[in-house]
């Protein structure tokens, strides 16, 4: 590996691939899916000798469940997309183009289109609690944030290349606050004081702040800006009836500075994105829905299951798994929360382990109810299909054949119980395709009707 994973700032190492663009040559390598999973997963140690733990140790262990991070199949898609967006930014930008753009901005020349192509933009939307923000943050952590250049091809070359910035869309949707968030993220990354300068500037008009941000994007060679909680746009829009200024600001920022942009948030934002064709084009990407009640869900639950800090570990039965699903709706955050809180409830009632009733009571207590899915998207379980392998379990394959409607393969059979029949029962033998065999064994007659 060129750069050690987890280091936010690294000294540039060049590939010398002949592109003669230091920004491209210094970019980090992409991880394989296997390496990616190994790096982002987080499994705290499972409890051992549960019976001997003190109450404090149990509660401490329960609190540590929040540090658990189970890699899912869609996460590599996100990582891959982010990595490619960063790459493409530097393919459309060189030091000379940056200089031309900065000069044009300084001279208030508005026609910048001739200086480069449009940057990439995409979005990741999905129900709350699926782990979108954590995924993006973990994916970005695998990429160094700042590459420091000092010498390229034996010539001094002093500049910083900021590969990405992560900031949140402000709750009031103000362009100024958004600008401050971007500058703050930049200051944190490179250790500058631009936010102070921005505060001290006499002209705090939105246009001059926007120009300032654009120049900074080019001076620091920013590759990607991730804007989280983009659904705030809709919430604020409903209140003030103004949606466009913020989106226009971000679009203009990325167009003028040739910096890629990645939005993430809940599905509420899709209503805004689909309003205008130019927005729709720029905001395509993954639309995530929770787990279906299937093998992928059970795999996720199985990875969470060892983290039980009660006296004994409850057995994961179909009934318990279904109760978890019924209340969580397949949302990973709710599943983890239910697991954590039901253990706390079990401890407070001196129960040896969690059970169905405890889980139900906890869900009622915490008002955890499944969300209604009223949007189009891809279920977390469906990402197996994209990377289908021959050894995929049959039960998962069967489930994935289904359409939008979630199948309850693990649910208890409902209705009246089937009557038990003895071995010689003809109806039972007929249903089991063993009728002829039974008749021969019992030396019974077979009536054959010839028409």
């Amino acid at each position: 590996m060129k750069y050690r994973i987890g280091q936010p700032t690294v000294a540039a190492v060049y590939d010398m691939d002949g592109s003669r663009n230091p920004f491209i040559e210094a970019l980090p390598e992409s991880l394989s899916e296997h390496e990616f999973v190994r790096e982002i997963q987080s499994f705290p140690p499972c409890p051992s000798r549960q019976a001997d733990l003190s109450l404090t140790e149990r509660k401490r262990g329960i609190a540590a469940i929040q540090t658990l991070f189970v890699p899912m199949d869609y996460m590599y898609c996100v990582y891959d997309q982010l990595w490619r967006m960063i790459q493409s930014t530097y393919h459309t930008r060189s030091s000379k183009q940056n200089v031309i753009r900065i000069n044009a901005l300084f001279a208030n020349e508005t026609n910048l289109n001739e200086y480069g192509t449009q940057p990439q933009s995409a979005s990741l939307l999905g129900s709350a609690g699926l782990g979108k923000t954590s995924t993006i943050k973990r994916c970005l952590c695998l990429i160094p944030q700042v590459i420091e250049h000092e010498q390229y091809l034996h010539e001094p070359f002093f500049c910083k290349q900021v590969l990405y910035l992560f900031c949140e869309c402000p709750s009031d949707c103000s362009i100024k606050t958004m600008s401050f968030n971007i500058v703050k993220a930049l200051d944190d990354a490179v250790g500058s004081n631009h936010l102070d300068y921005l505060m001290k500037m006499r002209s705090t008009a939105t246009s001059s702040i926007a120009t300032y941000i654009k120049v900074l994007c080019m001076t620091y060679n920013i590759g990607l800006i991730c804007v989280d909680e983009i659904q705030n746009l809709v919430i604020e829009a409903k209140r003030t009836n103004r949606i466009k200024p913020m989106i226009r600001f971000l679009t203009e920022l990325t167009n003028d500075s040739a910096t890629a942009i990645y939005f993430s948030g809940t599905m509420l934002a899709e209503t805004v994105f689909e309003q205008e064709p130019y927005l729709k084009r720029r905001t395509r990407g993954l639309r995530l829905l929770p787990f279906k009640n299937d093998g992928a869900y059970r795999d996720f639950l199985a990875q969470l299951w060892p983290y039980q800090y009660t006296e004994t570990r409850a057995r994961m039965t179909d009934r318990i798994a279904n109760v978890f699903y019924d209340y969580s709706g397949g949302v990973p955050a709710y599943i983890a929360k239910l697991s954590e809180e039901s253990q706390v409830q079990a401890l407070s009632y001196d129960l040896p382990c969690i059970n169905e009733q405890i889980i139900r009571n906890t869900a009622e207590l915490l008002a955890i109810r499944p969300q209604k899915i009223a949007m189009r998207g891809k279920f977390l379980s469906e990402f197996h299909c994209a990377y289908a392998q021959p050894e995929e379990p049959i039960e998962k394959a069967k489930i994935n054949d289904g359409d939008q409607k979630s199948k309850r393969l693990y649910a208890n059979q409902r209705g009246r119980k089937a009557q038990e029949r003895d071995k010689g029962d003809l109806i039972a033998a007929f249903h089991g395709n063993a009728l002829q065999k039974l008749l021969r064994e019992q030396k019974m007659l077979v009536e054959v009707s010839i028409c």
């Binding site: 002093f158 910083k160 500037m201 120009t211 941000i213 120049v215 900074l216």
Partner: protein, 183 residues
């Protein structure tokens, strides 16, 4: 420490490097940028002979990339002015400047009056530089007093406008005004 700074281009005058820094900083208020660059807002940056502000800036840059001596010899007319100094005098001046001192040379404007001097540029160099680097810049070789012709293109050097030359010493003037534009 400064987090960004333009690399001096071939034969670039130090003042021009500072102008390019202003443009890339994004802030259009002189005082703020000067404080960032020199640590104080009243530093004189528009001087031909280097002063204490040179060390103030170079000390804020990584030593592995920027060497004070290289900047002094290649981006200021230091060599031109001290050409006939004894070795000890040159070394003393260099050390004095590196420590942030501002030497007062009595002969500085004797051969060529300060009032006659203005920043100069070659229009052909400006066009070539804009093509090669994306922006034109002031060449050091053009700024030496009494030089009126570009060594490379053998054409007459152009002087910047009088009011711009006067505001070279005015810290509130925007940097862009001093950047030569290709004609």
């Amino acid at each position: 420490m400064l987090t960004h700074f333009p690399m001096p281009l071939p034969d670039e005058w130090w003042y021009s490097v500072l102008c390019r820094y202003y443009i890339s900083a994004g802030v259009q208020e002189h005082g703020i940028v000067k404080k960032e660059l020199f640590g104080r807002a009243d530093a004189h940056m528009g001087t031909l002979f280097p002063n204490g502000s040179l060390a103030a800036v170079v000390n804020r840059l990584p030593r592995t990339v920027f060497c004070f001596q290289d900047v002094l010899l290649n981006n200021t007319p230091f060599k031109y002015y001290v050409r006939f100094y004894p070795k000890g005098g040159r070394e003393y001046l260099m050390k004095y400047l590196s420590e942030g001192g501002t030497p007062q040379l009595t002969h500085l404007w004797r051969s060529y009056g300060r009032e006659n001097w203005k920043p100069r540029y070659c229009p052909m160099c400006a066009t070539e530089d804009a093509d090669a680097y994306g922006e034109p810049y002031y060449h050091l070789s053009h700024q030496i007093p009494m030089v009126s012709v570009c060594q490379k293109h053998h054409c007459k050097l152009k002087l910047v406008d009088k009011h711009l030359a006067e505001s070279l010493e005015n810290p509130l003037t925007r940097a862009l005004s001093f950047t030569p534009r290709p004609s």
